[in-house]
């Protein structure tokens, strides 16, 4: 058997608090297309980033053409013939195609200036080879995402790359663009270029991958040759870890149909709509793969996204929500995914953050009643057990878990009717997580609707009373408590239909 192009053996990598990769191995042959699959957080991207020189492994070795190599940085990786095309493209929109392709290695002319003639002449054959019908003098911001991606591939080819890594390359492409890219992947592999392809989309893997490698919880879960790679077998490999059960059943009574959302949409998935019913007193979990459109849906409901055909009913009343203020006035609050950028003004104090959305309630003639404000903030600090020296401490200085509690505090001070939590425990330690789960349950038992978006499988399975699973901008099905199992969630998350799935609304 010929030496494979790339061998990664026993790769391990830890980050503070998590083991991202544990003794993972990966082999890629010349001209082979290998798809990497796995749930959110399975370690696919980390493995590829090690190959691309972004991260250094804690243990393990990398062999290229049978020779061990060390990849200390991105330049090392490039010099070994590896090109990494990130999900967020690394192109400079203000420069033209040729300048992007030759960025950082511009040939000079006799005056020490960029030899512009040469870079255009040298770029042209590569973009022709990729079927890109544009001038090398086109600025990148004039191109579509798909075309920009092809420019990145052209750059990879011009560097004589033997292996191109693509991290979810089709996540922002249209269907035609996707098909074109998949054809290109096949062509490139025919020309002897190897491709490592991270994707959630099983259909695409089916079209172009020679082999599928599945990771689960940072370990090799198994691999399938093209012929064996059926939907069911893939999902079976992706799921199957042990999940501790810490589900707490609701104590309060539920009022089904209390909160209804119809036709919520977002710019991420134009043309797709989300409709669902949620009961008063329940925690409705929203599962799905990254990019399924869950956060965008939450923002649409909160009046933060343009969602023109959306109709929202609370307790039978149709609400007009086109701005964040409207949602807030009706008691619909969002604790956003990106806590520090969207949830908090971290340089302000705990008191100022807690009172920000409700200031008008305790002020007269536009002046803030500071005593009342302090009481409200102190009340939330006590109720949520926020660990802070005083309410006057800057949020900046609190731990992640306590920052999240401040976000919750600012909304709980205003008695939520519908509380939307987007990744409520991301980056939070175990103890604080348990407290946040308890708070969510108390809120639900107190008569609120809780919508919880989470990419943490254990969390989604254990905290939700029902789970709505989203796939590419739509709800692919809702699971009742009895059917809340990992394989069901994963099947729906990759867009399959299963008998256990119920419709999201009546």
């Amino acid at each position: 058997m010929a030496t494979p192009l790339l061998e990664m053996r026993g790769i391990s990598k830890g980050f503070p608090g998590v083991i991202a990769l544990d003794n993972v191995s990966l082999t890629i042959g010349r001209g082979e297309v290998v798809a990497l699959c796995g749930e959110n957080g399975a370690g696919k991207s980390t493995l590829m980033k090690i190959l691309g020189g972004v991260h250094q492994p804690d243990a393990g070795e990398i062999l290229i053409d049978g020779r061990p190599v060390k990849i200390h940085g991105v330049t090392d990786s490039m010099s070994h013939g590896i090109a990494f095309i990130h999900q967020e493209l690394n192109v400079l929109g203000n420069l033209d195609v040729a300048a992007n392709v030759f960025l950082g290695r511009e040939p000079r002319n006799g005056f020490g200036l960029i030899d512009s003639k040469k870079i255009h002449a040298d770029t042209a054959p590569f973009i022709q080879r990729l079927g890109l019908n544009i001038s090398t003098r086109t600025r990148l911001d004039r191109l579509s995402i798909a075309q920009q991606q092809l420019v990145e591939i052209a750059k990879a080819l011009s560097l004589n790359s033997k292996l191109i890594i693509m991290d979810e390359p089709t996540s922002s492409l249209t269907l035609t663009e996707t098909n074109r890219l998949l054809e290109l992947v096949c062509e490139l592999s025919g020309q002897g270029v190897s491709i490592a392809y991270i994707s959630h989309r099983l259909g695409e893997i089916d079209t172009c991958a020679d082999r599928v490698v599945v990771l689960r919880d940072g370990k090799n879960a198994g691999e399938l040759a093209h012929a064996e790679a059926s939907h069911d077998r893939l999902v079976n490999l992706m799921v199957g870890r042990e999940i501790k059960n810490f589900y707490v059943a609701p104590k309060g009574s539920k009022t089904p149909g209390y909160f209804k959302v119809r036709n919520a949409s977002s710019s991420l998935h134009p043309g797709k709509k989300v409709s669902f019913d949620a009961a008063r007193g329940e925690i409705l979990g929203f599962a799905g793969l990254v990019g399924a459109g869950r956060s965008e849906m939450a923002k649409a409901i909160s009046g933060l996204e343009d969602s023109p055909q959306q109709e929202i009913f609370l307790d039978g009343r149709l609400l007009a929500i086109t701005r964040p203020r409207h949602a807030i006035d009706h008691g619909i609050y969002l604790a956003p995914e990106n806590r520090r950028a969207e949830g908090l003004v971290v340089e302000l104090t705990v008191r100022e953050n807690v009172s920000l959305p409700s200031l008008e309630k305790f002020s007269r003639f536009g002046l803030i009643n500071r005593r009342h404000e302090r009481q409200i903030a102190a009340g939330q600090v006590a109720a949520l057990k926020i660990k802070t020296p005083t309410t006057e401490a800057r949020v900046l200085n609190l731990s992640g878990g306590n920052q999240q509690k401040v976000v919750l505090g600012k909304w709980l001070a205003m008695a939520p009717k519908v509380m939307i939590l987007d990744e409520p425990t991301r980056g939070i330690d175990v103890g604080a997580k348990a407290e946040i789960y308890r708070l969510m349950r108390e809120l639900a038992d107190g008569g609120a609707v809780i919508l919880m978006i989470s990419s943490d499988m254990e969390e989604i399975l254990n905290v939700s009373d029902r789970i709505a699973v989203m796939h590419e901008g739509e709800i692919s099905g809702v699971l009742e408590r009895a059917d809340c199992r990992e394989e069901n969630v994963m099947q729906l998350a990759v867009g399959k239909t299963i008998p256990a799935a119920k419709p999201a609304f009546n």
Binding site: L304, E342, V345, L356, L359, E360, G366
Partner: protein, 320 residues
């Protein structure tokens, strides 16, 4: 608060040194004159400070003062409007211009620097055009002696502009440090996105800061017109926006937004004017005026930066 104390100490030190070198500094006449100037410059500096707290900038102040002064002169001496009407007009115009800036910045997502730079050019040009580029004076102030006294007179022995500055400062201190609106300004300056997510209409709050800056510039503009007693449209208020920005920054406003205080801006203004006074009184060539100002602002901000970096390091060393 520490920032204000530091620059206040600098102000006191400068006054002491100047007074020691030239006792005329503490003469009644010099103090009154300096207080008058602090009043004139302080009022619009507060406006600039508000805009800077939102993370913006206003470069149009100087030209607005010229345009505003010119409109006032014309309204009083050529159009013969009643003085309260003329004053209302001279306040409404800069407020509307400020509203225009605010709308262009928040609705049309233009950069504050560009919008107000164009304002700087535009208003100066208009002021010169409507006056045929000639100096216009108030003459004998027939029919608006009351206004002249209000703008130029004394109250309890203090020059009116200084008294008006004190009143405005108190009001603006309440607005900035005690009202909902002020809280929103600071929140937006730090993190507009999170503020918007909290249901606050950030566009109107930001636009409001430009309107307030317009209003305060309008007040300054009227006072300046009476201070000079005539308006030369090509030079009136020239480069005052830079004085305002320098005063605000020296007083602790951060151009990144979200930081600043009324007290700081006042001390910053006073410091700049005492510096100019010092240049005159100590016999330093007045051609060095701007250079001294530039050097002091630079050193002041540098010292503050270093002080902050040091206290950040100290805080980092202490376990949480």
């Amino acid at each position: 608060m520490k920032k204000e104390i530091g620059i206040f100490a600098l102000l006191v030190g400068l006054c002491a040194v100047t007074g020691f070198e030239n006792p005329r500094f503490f003469s009644h006449e010099n103090l009154i004159n300096t207080a008058n100037l602090i009043g004139l410059f302080g009022i619009f500096s507060i406006g600039v400070g508000l805009v800077i707290i939102t993370g913006g900038i206003d470069l149009s102040i100087g030209s607005m003062i010229a345009l505003n002064g010119m409109l006032l002169v014309l309204a009083l001496t050529e159009w013969h409007w009643a003085w309260p009407v003329a004053v209302a007009f001279a306040l409404a115009v800069p407020m509307l211009l400020g509203l225009g800036h605010g709308v262009l910045i928040t609705r049309f997502k233009m950069q504050p620097f560009i919008v107000t730079l164009c304002g700087l050019l535009l208003y100066r040009g208009i002021a010169r055009f409507i006056a045929n580029d000639t100096t216009k004076g108030f003459g004998g102030a027939e029919g608006f002696k009351t206004l002249q006294n209000l703008a130029n007179g004394n109250f309890l022995g203090l020059p009116m502009p200084f008294v008006i500055l004190i009143v405005i400062s108190v009001v603006m201190w309440v607005v900035l440090h005690r009202s909902i609106y002020g809280r929103y300004l600071f929140a937006i300056g730090r993190n507009e996105e999170a503020t918007r997510f909290s249901g606050i209409n950030t566009r109107w709050v930001v636009a409001g800061a430009y309107v307030l800056a317009g209003l305060l510039t309008g007040v300054s503009g009227i006072l300046f017109a009476f201070y000079t007693n005539s308006v030369t449209p090509s030079t009136q208020g020239n480069s005052y926006e830079l004085n305002g920005i320098a005063a605000a920054v020296l007083g602790g406003c951060s151009l990144r937004g979200g930081e600043g205080s009324i007290v700081g801006i006042l001390i910053g203004t006073a410091l700049l004017l005492v510096l100019q006074n010092l240049v005159n009184l100590l016999g330093i060539p007045s051609s060095l005026n701007y250079a001294v100002m530039g050097a002091v602002v630079l050193l002041g901000v540098l010292a503050d930066q270093m002080f902050q970096a040091r206290s950040a390091r100290k805080a980092a060393r202490q376990p949480k």
